[in-house]
């Protein structure tokens, strides 16, 4: 199995559409086309082996299922995972004659995904940085009152960023990578330091994502309590996410009623400030 220029180009377009800031909008782009599960379907169709594409996508999706990018903090880049990683994984699996849905194939896919996923964050930062150029043009348009130019700035010019940081890298890596893939397995054995480290990093990185999320939610130590209670419910009691959410609702209800009670009270005693409850106090415990 090799990847032709044409196939590589189609992959490049999908990479441009699905990246974080991608050209298809986050709903259709990053959150749909960017998910490895969907990427597997797309790559399977493009490379003509649907089953293997899906299988590789499923394996990678499991690794990145909780990927959140709060405030544009990207710990792994899905354009690279889905449209460079999956195709290369498919080539490798194929050339080694592994069964599409075998465990070995899945592991190979994961290693390819983690490898390009972390490396791919460079592409994300490249794209976002280049967009500064178009934004600069945008500000000048605003100053001059040429508002219609905003459409070009928001919808058009960023394609140039993607040509450079999504399309070209994808095309080159998928087209030429196929030959390099063969070497990868020998050069980077799974029980060697580099691969082990790579996978360990892959396991550790989601911590950053969750931590960034926590930064938005947590102000003082008390705010950690709901987090840890939820963690305990899932980790110790094996509650699934829907059940955790259901249980959390009763605490939300209590919190709401409590705050309303405190509120009313504060209105009732506007002059009495010494010793009253206020948020600052709540968070300082």
């Amino acid at each position: 199995m090799t990847i032709s220029w044409l196939q590589a180009s189609i992959l490049g377009i999908f990479a441009s559409l699905s990246s974080m800031p991608g050209m298809a909008g986050s709903t259709i782009g990053n959150y749909t086309l960017g998910r490895p599960l969907v990427g597997g379907l797309v790559c399977g169709l493009i490379l003509g082996d649907l089953k293997m594409g899906i299988a590789a996508g499923v394996a990678m999706q499991l690794v990145y299922i909780a990927l959140v990018t709060p405030g544009g903090t990207v710990s792994a880049d899905v354009r690279a995972v889905s449209y460079i990683g999956i195709p290369l994984a498919m080539v490798a699996i194929h050339s080694q004659g592994l069964a599409a849905t075998s465990a070995n194939a899945a592991d190979l896919a994961k290693s390819m995904g983690t490898l390009v996923g972390t490396v791919g964050t460079v592409l994300f930062y490249g794209t976002a940085t280049m967009n500064l150029v178009w934004q600069h043009m945008g500000w000048r348009a605003v100053e001059r009152g040429e508002f219609r130019k905003l459409y070009a700035v928001d919808w058009g010019y960023p394609w140039i960023s993607h040509l450079i940081f999504s399309f070209i890298p994808t095309v080159l890596m998928t087209h030429f990578g196929s030959s390099a893939v063969q070497a990868l397995k020998t050069a980077l054995p799974m029980d060697g330091i580099p691969m082990k480290t790579l996978f360990t990093v892959g396991a550790l990185l989601p911590c950053v994502g969750i931590a960034i999320l926590l930064k938005q939610i947590v102000d003082g130590p008390v705010d950690f309590i709901p987090f840890f209670v939820g963690f305990t419910f899932a980790a110790s009691l094996k509650l699934n996410l829907v059940s955790v959410t259901v249980v959390s609702l009763i605490f939300a209800m209590i919190s709401y009623k409590l705050d309303m009670a405190i509120n009313t009270n504060r209105q009732a005693a506007p002059a009495n400030t010494g010793g009253t409850v206020d948020d600052e106090e709540d968070e300082d415990i």
């Binding site: 934004q135 009152g145 691969m195 550790l204 947590v218 305990t232 996410l241 709401y256």
Partner: protein, 279 residues
């Protein structure tokens, strides 16, 4: 600005919504994340409400301020400003500072809620179900995900946008008033617990550290000991560490990631970490 009972047409609102639906992140930079998406979304409205170029410029200036939020749930903010802009066009009581105060006040909490509940929970749940349908390389799961998520995403955003427009000022009352604060805190409770659940469910940090006796039998499996203290202890510890580095030590996410790479390398070299995979 004359009080002429101006009303944004349905068509224009639709246009504004679709501009947002498509373009909220396309021109993203680290400096002005969603500002341009916001500008293109407000443009049709401003053009309809003000004939006068000057008024248009004044109105547009409002939206040049930095903006970033979770885009799906954030549609409600765009809807609210649409209705505030309409009010401003009519009697001018609403001013620049009000609109931007509002935007700034809302984008934070809505990013927190949206990132936790939409991107951090809803999507993983649908993906989880879809993965279950993908056994043996079946395309069913992927198709299921595409359909379900996009329907939810599109109509959910639409609903949020128009709800925001309808409620307008009132939405502000609900979102930031006395009751609003209580509701936000309640939602934050859900967010906190769910993120805890997400962390425990999807993030797994495990040590492979093991002590063996002469005959090779393991007499101490560190991971088991740690789990007997508190299941998922290591995962929780790493998350809190990352939080602490970023929130208390002001280290940037990128640097934290680099630190983790170093930690991973040392861990692998000392046998503390070992993914134990094979080709």
């Amino acid at each position: 600005m004359e009080n002429t009972g101006k009303k944004i047409s349905r068509k224009t609102l639709n246009k504004s919504f679709h501009h947002w639906f498509y373009g909220h992140l396309t021109a993203f930079s680290q400096e002005h994340m969603q500002t341009f998406g916001y500008l293109t979304s407000m443009l049709p409205i401003v053009e309809e409400l003000y004939d006068n170029k000057e008024d248009q410029e004044k109105a547009m200036k409002t939206y040049t301020a930095f903006f970033n939020t979770e885009p799906q749930l954030g549609s409600i903010i765009v809807g609210i400003t649409a209705s505030l802009e309409e009010a401003r066009a009519n009697d001018g009581h609403v001013d620049d500072a009000t609109i931007n105060g509002l935007r700034a006040g809302l984008m934070g909490p809505i990013a927190g809620i949206g990132d936790s509940l939409v991107v951090g929970t809803l999507i993983p749940v649908i993906l989880g179900i879809a993965l279950g349908m993908s056994d043996g390389g079946s395309p069913l799961g992927a198709i299921f995900y595409i359909i379900v998520w996009n329907l939810l995403g599109y109509f959910g955003m639409r609903f949020a946008y128009f709800k925001g427009y309808e409620l307008g000022d009132k939405a502000v009352g609900i979102l930031v008033g006395a009751q609003g604060k209580a509701i936000r805190k309640a939602i934050a409770t859900v967010g906190g617990m769910v993120v805890g659940g997400v962390a425990a469910t999807w993030v797994t940090v495990k040590t492979s550290f093991t002590l063996r006796n002469g005959s090779g039998k393991a007499y101490l499996v560190l991971q088991d000991k740690l789990d007997s203290v508190y299941p998922g202890l290591l995962t929780a510890a790493f998350i809190v560490l990352c939080w602490w580095l970023m929130a208390k030590k002001n280290i940037s996410p990128i640097k934290v990631m680099l630190i983790l790479v170093v930690v991973a390398l040392i861990g692998v070299l000392t046998g503390f970490f070992n993914p134990g995979l094979k080709y």
